[in-house]
């Protein structure tokens, strides 16, 4: 056996990364793109390559003190600036301050005649000039493949591209090279052959008429990275990537209670409310007051001076505010104070993954203490996907200690598989019921589950009053829970019974009182008789004594008299 010397612990210097400043992207790449190396970003038309690249440069120039060069082979500088102006990127300003340089390389096949040996030294000179003029640390070539349409000699072109990427590495700049997605390979002209440090694939898929953008890191030499497909979002806030791996189960469990906004409901839970950072599902059929219950949670959160983010998928913000105002919940004051934000979007606007990406981003920016999603049942899609994405949202809320209240338009007994999957993610589940009885429809509420706390098992009737949801006193009788008139009737019946019993008791008490008085009188009479008798006895004794005394005196007198006579 060969004695293998223990290999020296590989203290490989960890790869230096250039942060992109793009939400979520730096999480999945564990720090950003490989610094000083080129990265290939490929994808089909309109999937966000240019925007990703431009964001990388703008953030570099503004946040990380790394000026950049954007070499565009397709769009003119003015068009580029105009396209990203809506995201708040001030390209002309950055250019004017010497933080960014845009060079539009125009490749016009019709103007070019090839007449012998050549190279692309012109391009190198241009790039070198641009880099040195702003002191660039970041470079974007978008899309370098346009060169293939301008030059017929692909052998020269490929050799020159290989040289170009090598040259970029020598310059020590962090570069993004974009490439159009090709059939059977990542890019149409096989650029992945030359740029092999980091390859990122962007994708724009349409499923069920809904588009979802996805990003995948195909390869990242020398670095760990997330390997999944991550949905990402492009909207007026720029690009956000929704990371999966950054959400885990390592969040600490908070034990502080937060009020549900309904005192009666708080009292049903041993802690006096939901746990802070827990997820709460409120399920119930149409018109059971789910939104109102959720709005009360939002209201009470804001009343404590904490922020709340309300996502509504069925009503506009105005509509929501008006509707809950009808039951006495004034959300407008919280909107005005900036404690409440209402984000409304139609569920069909984009895929649920995009919704979730947007929600996670908004939560990250607004930093609320409470979040309401009304309703989660608005999302449609394969149940496992919904569960997976919901899990990400729940985890990300938990990680931030944010209490989440989710409503679901599904009564517990008619739940679909998807609903069950969602409910298993929840810590507390409050079920709202319609109880139909004696020609009435009443509302009942119970805590179906609540992890980590004891809670009431009663079904409580509740009413929607002008002070929001109010729980009625529970009636629990032999016949189970009674609601509505049945409860009122039963209560009346019980009250009558109580009155009757009370009257009966009163009567018996009076009876007893009377008998006691009577008995006491008898006792008094007897005592009087006894005393009279005792007096008589004493008198008789006295008389007897007197008589005896008299007799004695008589006898003595008699004797005296006799004695004298004798």
């Amino acid at each position: 056996m060969t004695d293998v010397a223990p290999a020296p612990a590989r203290e490989a210097p960890s790869l230096v990364k250039a942060p992109t400043g793009i939400d979520g992207f730096d999480d999945i790449t564990i720090g950003g793109l490989p610094a000083g190396r080129p990265t290939l970003v490929c994808g089909g038309a309109g999937c966000g390559k240019t925007l990703l690249a431009m964001t990388f440069l703008v953030n570099g120039a503004e946040q990380f003190d790394e000026p950049g060069v954007f070499m565009s082979f397709e769009e003119r500088a003015e068009d580029l600036a105009a396209n990203v102006a809506s995201l708040g990127f001030d390209i002309p300003g950055l250019v004017a301050r010497g933080r960014l340089m845009i060079d539009h390389v125009r490749v016009e096949r019709g103007e070019i005649e090839e007449t012998g040996e050549y190279d692309l030294e012109g391009l190198f000179v241009r790039l070198d000039y641009a880099i040195s003029s702003v002191g660039a640390r970041r470079v974007v070539l978008d899309t370098v493949e346009a060169l293939f349409s301008g030059f017929t000699d692909t052998a020269i072109l490929r050799a020159e591209l290989r040289r170009l990427f090598g040259w970029l590495k020598d310059q020590g700049v962090t570069a993004i090279i974009t490439g159009e997605r090709g059939a059977g390979q990542l890019t149409r002209h096989g650029l992945e052959e030359y740029v092999s440090d980091c390859v990122i694939l962007l994708d724009n898929r349409v499923e069920d008429q809904i588009t979802t953008r996805r990003l995948r890191i195909v390869k990242y030499r020398g670095s760990a990275h997330g390997t999944n497909e991550y949905p990402f979002l492009i909207d007026d806030q720029g690009i956000s990537v929704l990371p999966v791996t950054s959400a885990g189960l390592d969040h600490e469990a908070l034990s502080e209670p937060v009020s549900s906004g309904v005192p009666g409901l708080d009292a049903m839970m041993a802690t006096g409310g939901y746990y802070q950072g827990s997820s709460v599902l409120i399920s119930g059929g149409s018109g059971t007051g789910k939104t109102i219950l959720a709005a009360q949670f939002a209201d009470t959160t804001c009343r404590r001076g904490e922020r709340c983010l309300f996502f509504t998928f069925e009503e506009s913000p105005e509509q929501l505010v008006r509707n809950v105002a009808s039951v006495g919940i004034d959300l407008r004051q919280h909107l005005v104070r900036g404690l409440l934000r209402i984000e409304a979007a139609r569920p069909s606007l984009f895929g649920f993954e995009m919704h979730l990406a947007r929600m996670i981003r908004d939560v990250g920016r607004f930093q609320p203490a409470g979040v309401v999603v009304d309703p989660v049942s608005a999302f449609r899609g394969p149940s496992f996907e919904i569960q997976a994405t919901m899990l990400r949202l729940v985890d990300s809320l938990k990680a931030g200690g944010v209490t989440g209240v989710f409503t679901s338009l599904t009564p517990a007994h008619t739940m679909t598989e998807a609903d069950h999957r969602i409910s298993s993610l929840m810590d507390t589940w409050i079920s709202l019921l319609d109880i139909e009885e004696s020609g009435e429809r009443n509302r009942g509420l119970y805590v179906l589950k609540s992890r980590g706390m004891s809670h009431s098992n009663q079904i409580r009737e509740y009413r929607l009053t002008e002070h929001g949801v109010e729980l009625s006193r529970p009636y629990v009788g032999a016949g189970g829970v009674l609601t509505g008139s049945a409860r009122v009737l039963q209560e009346a019946r019980e009250q009558a019974e109580t009155v009757r019993l009370r009257q009966e008791a009163e009567q018996r008490r009076r009876e007893f009182e009377r008998r006691r008085t009577a008995t006491e009188r008898q006792i008094a009479e007897l005592r009087a008789a006894l005393e009279a008798e005792a007096a008589e006895v004493a008198m008789l004794n006295e008389q007897a004594d007197l008589r005896e005394q008299t007799a004695e005196q008589d006898r003595e007198a008699m004797a005296a008299r006799r004695g004298a006579a004798e």
Binding site: E111, Y118, Y129
Partner: protein, 110 residues
């Protein structure tokens, strides 16, 4: 067939720029080829300027130079970029819109 004998008096004036990379062999070859073509075909009616892009890098942006060497025909329009060391004379002439074939034909016949 286009008409127009070579010795017509109203022939256009040529404004040409040749962008090269320092004093490489390829640059020298391009300059040499260009000079010959001008003397042979554009005598007295051309303005040729040789630009070294190493010395004058902004020229690459101004004139959209990618390849080197590049000969830019500024006038007469349309603008043309003729790349390479200009060793393929026929292609250069075609790019410059000089109808060599016709000239030759006429010369042979004459």
């Amino acid at each position: 067939m286009t008409e127009g004998p070579a010795d017509q008096p109203d022939q256009p004036q040529y404004v040409l720029r040749l962008y090269v990379t320092g004093s490489t062999a390829r640059s020298a070859r391009a300059i040499e080829n260009m000079r010959r073509i001008c003397e042979d075909h554009l005598e007295g009616r051309y303005d040729l300027e040789v630009v070294d892009i190493y010395q004058n890098p902004t020229a690459t942006i101004e004139q959209q130079i990618i390849a080197a060497p590049t000969l830019v025909k500024l006038l007469p329009s349309p603008l043309r970029r003729i790349i390479g060391d200009l060793s393929n004379k026929e292609k250069v002439l075609a790019g410059l819109d000089i109808h060599l074939q016709l000239d030759k034909q006429l010369a042979d016949e004459g």
